[in-house]
Subunit: 106 residues, 2 copies
């Protein structure tokens, strides 16, 4: 699916790590909240409130999911899931375009 229709888009960007990670919040027609974002090469850590589905549209990175010993290589297009109330680490190797969805924000 290349586009979201009948969506509500927040004009103001979400900006993290001095702009190396940024996103826009979009609420879909069914009420699902997603963020469309960009990550530049770097090492990041994020925390989750609820579970998150990270759809990597393009880009190469590795992720260490909560409780995992090893890093998981991700090469878009590919998706990974992060449980709620947890932290995950990312090492981004190339400019990465992603769509993060928040299933319980329905």
């Amino acid at each position: 699916m290349g586009q979201f229709e009948q969506a509500t888009v927040q004009k103001k960007a979400n900006i993290y790590y001095d702009g190396k990670v940024t996103s826009r919040t979009v609420t879909l027609q069914d009420g699902l909240k997603v963020t469309l974002g960009i990550m530049l090469p770097g090492v990041y850590e994020f925390g989750t409130e609820g579970p998150e589905t990270m759809e990597i549209l393009s880009g190469e990175l590795k992720v260490r999911l909560p409780g995992a010993e090893v890093w998981q290589e991700i090469k878009g297009p590919e998706t990974f899931h992060v449980p709620g109330n947890s932290k995950f680490a990312l090492e981004v190797f190339t400019v990465t375009d992603y769509c993060c969805s928040y299933p319980d924000k329905l």
Copy 2:
């Protein structure tokens, strides 16, 4: 206006200058095309097809408009206009959040 409603959002990002400038294309309910974007500090040049309205939501930069001798200081929230079929130069000082609209793309 903090958000666009009933809009169509392209999932895939527009990526320029190795990710230092990125945006998402949004088509509004009335058919107007806009791009919601981020510029990291740096010096850039862009070309226009049709006229463009650059609404700087936040951030500090200076712009040299086509045919202008001097640079214009811009501090969001502030808007400037660029004629069609022209080039404009930007020097971005802080992470800049913008909304560019394309009036003749109605």
